[in-house]
């Protein structure tokens, strides 16, 4: 696989027809479509299927909980499972992922527990998991900013003689940001082991990708930076995995960065507060819903005889257990300590913050005293 990437002329534009290993009917794609990438083995495909199915169940559960008012917000990635899971699975455990706010499925794939994934969307804190344990940076909200962190992290790894590869996700809208350009350019100039995966879900909130760029594909942009670019069917997890894995191997071998565009579709609204009926037609959503990444792989695996009813039952049970865990995590009363606001602004305590902390502590103590007095009054008046 890596040979194919290695020999690609960086001055050649990517094909406008997306690289695909599985067609929408679940058949192995014909050779011209595969870009020379080989089909992952069946054990890996089953694992990808398992991860996608679990991630979707999680996503649906969280959307439901958000509609019930249990979360402040949730940006769903429903329909983008092939990008989320295919690209993330292509990383080795020691590699680092730099995700965006929409990449909760990728966090799950990196082993982050549901409660920790949802810490920020619930509004408890801005991040709920340990970056070093999961080799996963914080979910970035400012667009494309995390791509520069991925480049710097990878460059530091090279300077230290470590073999870490970094992968930065971003969306189609983010490619218009200056930081995307700077990240692509710095990565190429410094030859860092970085893989950029653009999930082109075709909308930046309401703005269609046609209003973001005049380029034929977002992968075309790679050429100008002097790195290879791949335009991939982002609803084909086999292709997303194979192309990303080749880029990861190439980066680890010292071959430098790669830009991968996964062409997919955001089935759900941008977040729960969005109204997509104002900017796209139901027919279009239905069209893409019929190109579902999980169904496509399922058809293939069933036809190949490698996904049994028993497998599916097991996967379904695991997904349901995770959904239950997710519901329970969100129904628990959040344990908040207002004084923790001051704990991590700096690594060392700062006098002015300690003063403000003391002021808040006094307020809280006074409130508690009032509450106790109120209780006592109510008891006395009985």
């Amino acid at each position: 696989m890596s040979l194919n990437v290695e020999h690609r002329d960086h001055r050649t534009l990517p094909t406008t027809r997306p690289i695909r290993l599985l067609d929408n009917a679940g058949h192995a794609a014909p050779t011209p479509d595969t870009g020379g990438f080989g089909m992952p083995d069946s054990d890996l495909l089953v694992e990808l299927y398992r991860r996608m199915a679990i991630a979707r169940r999680f996503d649906r559960q969280v959307t439901a909980l958000t509609k019930q008012g249990r979360l402040a917000t949730y940006p769903s990635a429903l329909g983008q499972e092939a990008c989320e899971i295919g690209a993330t699975t292509a990383l080795d455990e020691d590699d680092w992922l730099f995700p965006t706010y929409r990449d909760s499925m990728a966090l799950l794939t990196r082993g982050v527990a549901p409660a920790a994934v949802l810490t920020s969307f619930r509004g408890e804190w801005h991040n709920g998991f340990d970056q070093h344990t999961h080799r996963t940076s914080v979910q970035a909200t400012p667009l494309a900013t995390q791509a520069l962190h991925a480049v710097g992290f990878a460059h530091a790894a090279r300077l230290k003689g470590e073999r870490t590869v970094t992968l930065a996700f971003m969306g189609d809208g983010a490619t218009s940001e200056g930081d995307a350009h700077e990240a692509f350019n710095f990565a190429a100039v410094w030859h860092t082991p970085t893989v950029f995966v653009v999930q082109n879900n075709q909308f930046a909130i309401s703005t269609p990708v046609a209003k973001q760029t005049r380029a034929a594909t977002l992968a075309d942009k790679a050429v100008g930076y002097g790195m290879p670019g791949f335009h991939v069917d982002g609803n084909d997890v086999a292709a997303m995995y194979a192309v990303t894995r080749a880029a990861v191997e190439r980066a680890r071998a010292g071959g430098g960065p790669t830009l991968i565009e996964g062409l997919t579709y955001r089935i759900e609204p941008h977040t729960n507060s969005d109204d997509p009926t104002r900017y796209r037609r139901a027919r279009e959503v239905e069209h893409w819903a019929r190109r579902d990444p999980i169904e496509r792989l399922e058809k293939y695996l069933v036809s190949e005889g490698v996904l049994t009813e028993q497998d599916r039952a097991q996967i379904s049970a695991t997904a349901e257990a995770l959904a239950t865990e997710t519901r329970e995590a969100v129904s628990e009363h959040a344990q908040l300590d207002p004084l923790a606001l001051f704990d991590h602004v700096y690594t060392e305590p700062r006098a002015s913050l300690l003063e403000q902390r003391a002021a808040l502590a006094a307020e809280l103590a006074a409130d508690a005293e009032l509450a106790r007095a109120g209780d006592a009054t109510r008891v006395a008046s009985r």
Binding site: L148, H149, V189, H344
Partner: protein
């Protein structure tokens, strides 16, 4: 990579006197050199910092001495420089990056405010960003537009940042070493007009801790609060005031965030009068914070309102007009003369 403490004493080159005169730019250069020599995690990059040695020569000779894996020229993109430094700091390095001029740091504003300042807090202490962003700042060098801004209030208003500004070569060396050794991100502002000021220094020099203000001239009648380029202005005003029988105390803040309430309050309670001097515009400037917090804490010791002697509320002027904009000793004394002094 080996890790050594930054407090190790650097060797004095053979034949080099241990006591010699250094400019502020030279002291900063020596601080970078010693930090690079003492700690393999330190890397220096930015625009033209390699072969050229930086437009102010602060990184002169460093790439040649330490190689281009420790000191190198970055592509010309400030957000990229700061953003990649964030990633490097996350991965165990201690990057020191240069923004070529104050106004050219603005493209990095989002990275600084949204990530550099917030990462440690956002991750509840799991991710530290030990990085230094050096910003040559302020005016009085005859610079054309965008080369003389005083941007300190933007950074100082951002929780999570430490913002310091030395005013003389000894502090420049000592504070930069301390900033590089800090586990928190530091905005290190270097007043350009002081780059060529000289002092006899025996290196390594350790001055007061970076986060503390210094009383650089003792007096009893009034406290002048200054930082960076205006410390010299305040000292000139103190000299001129002395000739008129006015005993002026001068404080060099050194650190803008945190603010050293203890040192400033002690001085103000002694003198009962204070003025803050800075080049930046007055409205919403750093002096507004100083006046407010010093008044809040010391109102009953004050005999007069705290004054601000600052640049005008105009975009930084062209070189031929900057002398009318910048605070001078005369303007400081004229401001002090507006107080009612007879009541005492």
């Amino acid at each position: 990579m080996s890790r050594t403490h930054v407090t190790a004493t650097p060797d004095v080159a053979p034949g080099e006197a241990s006591d010699h005169s250094l400019t502020m730019a030279g002291a900063l250069n020596r601080a970078l050199r010693d930090a690079l020599a003492d700690d393999d995690r330190v890397v220096v990059f930015g625009e033209d910092v390699g072969a050229l040695g930086g437009v102010f020569r602060v990184t002169d000779g460093l790439e040649a001495e330490f190689g281009s894996t420790r000191v190198w020229d970055a592509p010309l993109a400030e957000s990229g420089i700061v953003g990649t430094a964030v990633g490097m700091a996350m991965n165990g390095l201690r990057p020191v990056v240069e923004m070529q001029f104050d106004a050219f740091a603005y493209p990095a504003f989002e990275q600084v405010v949204s990530h550099v300042a917030k990462m440690h807090n956002r991750t509840q202490g799991r991710v530290r960003l030990p990085m230094v962003i050096r910003i040559p700042c302020a005016g009085a060098i005859g610079g054309v537009e965008h080369h003389s801004d005083s941007s300190e209030a933007y950074w100082a208003a951002t929780p999570g940042l430490t913002v310091v500004m030395p005013s003389h070569p000894a502090d420049a060396y000592s504070m930069l070493r301390e900033a590089i050794a800090s586990d928190d991100p530091v905005i290190f502002m270097e007043p350009k007009s002081r780059y060529w000021s000289k002092a006899a220094l025996a290196l390594p020099v350790h001055t007061a801790p970076m986060q503390r203000a210094s009383v650089v001239r003792e007096g009893t009648d009034v406290t002048l609060i200054a930082y960076g380029p205006t410390v010299r202005t305040a000292l000139e005003a103190a000299d001129a005031g002395a000739e008129e029988g006015l005993s002026v105390e001068v404080i060099d803040l050194r650190s803008l965030s945190p603010f050293d309430d203890e040192t400033v309050s002690a001085s103000v309670r002694k003198t009962s009068r204070a003025a803050i001097i800075h080049e930046a515009a007055q409205f919403g400037g750093y002096g507004a914070e100083v006046a407010a917090r010093v008044t809040e804490r010391n109102f009953h010791w004050l005999a007069a309102p705290i004054l601000r002697v600052t640049g005008f509320d105009v975009p930084y002027p062209p070189p031929m007009l900057e002398e009318f904009h910048l605070p001078t000793a005369d303007r400081v004394l004229a401001a002090l003369a507006t107080w009612e002094w007879d009541a005492e």
